[in-house]
Amino acid sequence: MNTKNIKINGRLKFIFWVLLIAFVVAAPSLLPVFRLNLLGRYLSLAIVALGVDLIWGFTGLLSLGQGIFFTLGGYCVAMYLQLNSSSEFPNNIPEFFALYGVKDLPFFWAPFKSLFFTLFAAWLIPALVAAILGFLVFRNRIKGVYFSILTQASLLVFFNFFNGQQKLINGTNGLKTDVTQLFGQMVGSELIQRYFFWITVFLVITAWFFSKWLIKGRFGNILIGIRDDEPRVRFTGYNPVLFKTIIFSIAGALAGISGALYTVQSGIVSPQFMTVPFSIEMVIWVAVGGRGTLLGAILGAVFINYAKSLVSEALPASWMFIQGGLFILVVTTLPQGILGWLYSESPRNLLQRFGFIRKIKTYPSLEINKNGES
């Protein structure tokens, strides 16, 4: 391990951290309400990106169906909020039911009257669905691109189901949370939104440390083992199915939390969150940020979404070109993502080329432990 390198990375990291913390602390007072709300939403997307990084970056499972778990989490809180503020409507059920002539609350809505249940359901239900789906797929040793295709097909199954069931969950329109009540306050109000922002910041950091802790120990090593050579892991006596299922359901839980936070800050959850492009975008946040770095996932999610909203305000038509170009560029020339690139030798080489730092003369070149960084 190159000590100079660590020093530089350490310094970079330190500067980065100071800037980041300063920004997050100052954000609520600096940013206008609209931008703060956007930041909050993008930070909540960072949580789903962390999940994607865990399963893709560390375990090598490319899921194109994280939107399922994301949306499920969103629906859980939206159902609670809708029920919580439906007392003035006919039959004490959310308003939209009247549109389709539904008089009784569908059975699965009932538990969501409780806040306690909802807080658990928002991550437990996605985790369970992910566990079932994952177990079925992994059990048959379906992996690689087949896994991706199957997750994408499952995404479509869920999308069509949610989209088609007007009478159960309001179909295409989705559920709105902005004008619902929470503790006597309107959810869309500035006060509540600010609380959600802080909750999001807290949860992003918690999720990040949780993920770090997860991949640090033996569990993480097995995941990386599965990514690099699954048969060997199996021959060593571990059961990859179990580990894959666990990590997939953890990623599902993270997606659920993320979806819940995103929903309350966007004011709506709808089957649109389960469209194919959105789930693929999640992967690209991680790819751009740097897969297998965790931090890269967070940064990628926030920055790409911010760029998206800025670009689409200025030049709506060009975002597709930029996004498409980004996919190709990152995959072909920057496979480790931006953070992965920063962690590698390349920036140092760049600086050396322009004479900013002295070249170290070593021959043959030092072996670099690529898996050591995280």
Partner: protein
């Protein structure tokens, strides 16, 4: 019985579209293991080619041949999508062999760009671009050997590319001046109208069958036969199969695997273009036309078993028939006295959107029992 026959007819009609769309994918994915998410957009290019051909054939000079424009557009669509596919392979996919997940992401990027391309670039310029690419790529192949081997070959190549660019620009200008519709960029969907002889319906075994669907079945059949002949009879076809089975060995034996890759990918993409022609006969042509089919195509290939054309055929007709059976609620007619709870469930799924849910769910369940599809590849396979 009659109802079942009805279902089979309808299922074949639906399945034929799936099959023609999945055929190209079965080759690219099945033989090369490349997940090409831009496959739908290659279909879209084929559909737009049909549209452009149709407008060109409406010009006074070509008007007498208008009835046959669909036939011409099949060939053109094959070429257009094939050329784009080859470029794709040479620039992006080649770099990513061995990392299918990365290919998947990169091709998704390509699909986004292609979608936006047809929205923001006038079709005439699009056609001009394709023409110049085609000429630029093909022209050097016809140079005499002396030039090909000379040191100055790259200058000749440069000259031929300049020539191609010139032709491309000229033809773009020509098309925009002749057909003003094509001279402007538009995000509007366009429409292909089948010539009169392809509209309407005919009767087979007491069932009426739309002629366009029949046409699609014929297109599909011809494509399938052509592909099978190509793979089994021609030298390159045999090389393709050889490379599929053992790449290293082929490399050692002097087969240019690079060329094989380009050809395979080009053919797969070209078939996507042909599928585009078929799809354009059924619905409107727009930037999203391919995206609607792509997941269905993957399901067909996965269900049929990778690397197996027969499986693809069975899978697409199977899915087609199931779609009709479930979506049109025919099970109730076939078995009228089923228990109430079952019939309620069936009614719940007897809408087009719920049928889709059901079919995908069934496929996922099916794969639990036969993970490698209907017709798994035989022989020893290296894992992953």
């Amino acid at each position: 019985m009659e109802l079942l026959l009805d279902s089979i007819f309808n299922g074949i009609a639906i399945g034929s579209v799936l099959l023609v769309a999945a055929l190209g994918l079965a080759i690219v994915f099945g033989l090369m293991g490349v997940i090409n998410l831009a496959h739908g957009e290659l279909m879209m290019l084929g559909a737009y080619t049909t549209y452009v051909t149709q407008l060109i054939f409406k010009l006074p000079i070509l008007k007498p041949f208008y009835n046959w424009y669909v036939i011409i557009s099949i060939f053109l669509a094959f070429i257009v999508s094939g050329v784009v596919g080859i470029i794709l392979e040479k620039t992006i996919i080649r770099k990513l062999y061995g990392s299918p997940l990365e290919t998947l992401l990169a091709t998704w990027g390509v699909s986004l760009i292609l979608q936006q391309f047809v929205r923001s670039v006038p079709l005439s310029y699009g056609s001009g671009l394709i023409i110049s690419l085609l000429i630029g790529m093909v022209l050097p192949l016809f140079f005499p050997t002396k030039i090909k081997e000379s040191i100055k070959f790259k200058y000749y190549k440069l000259a031929s590319w300049s020539f191609a660019t010139l032709i491309g620009i000229l033809s773009a200008e020509l098309i925009s001046s002749l057909i003003s519709k094509l001279g402007r960029a538009s995000s509007r969907n366009v429409d292909v109208t089948a010539p009169a002889w392809m509209r309407g319906q005919i009767e087979i075994l007491g069932n009426t069958f739309p002629k366009t669907r029949l046409m699609i079945i014929i297109i599909t059949l011809i494509s399938v036969i052509a592909i099978i002949c190509f793979l089994n009879q021609s030298a390159w076809g045999i090389r393709i199969r050889a490379v599929t089975q053992n790449r290293q060995m082929c490399d050692c034996l002097g087969i240019s695997t690079e060329k094989v890759d380009v050809i395979t990918f080009g053919i797969g993409s070209g078939l996507a273009g042909v599928a585009g022609v078929a799809v354009s006969l059924l619905g409107s042509v727009g930037p999203n036309v391919g995206g609607n089919y792509i997941v269905g195509c993957f399901m067909v290939v996965v269900l049929g078993g990778v690397g197996n054309l027969l499986g693809t055929i069975f899978a697409s007709f199977g899915i087609g028939i199931m779609t009709d059976l479930i979506g049109a609620g025919r099970l109730l007619n076939i078995w009228p006295n089923m228990p109430l709870s079952l019939s309620n469930t069936i009614n719940f799924f007897a809408t087009t959107s719920m049928a889709r849910v059901m079919i995908f769910a069934l496929i996922v369940i099916f794969l639990q029992f036969k993970p490698s599809g209907l017709f798994p590849q035989k022989g020893r396979m290296v894992e992953s």
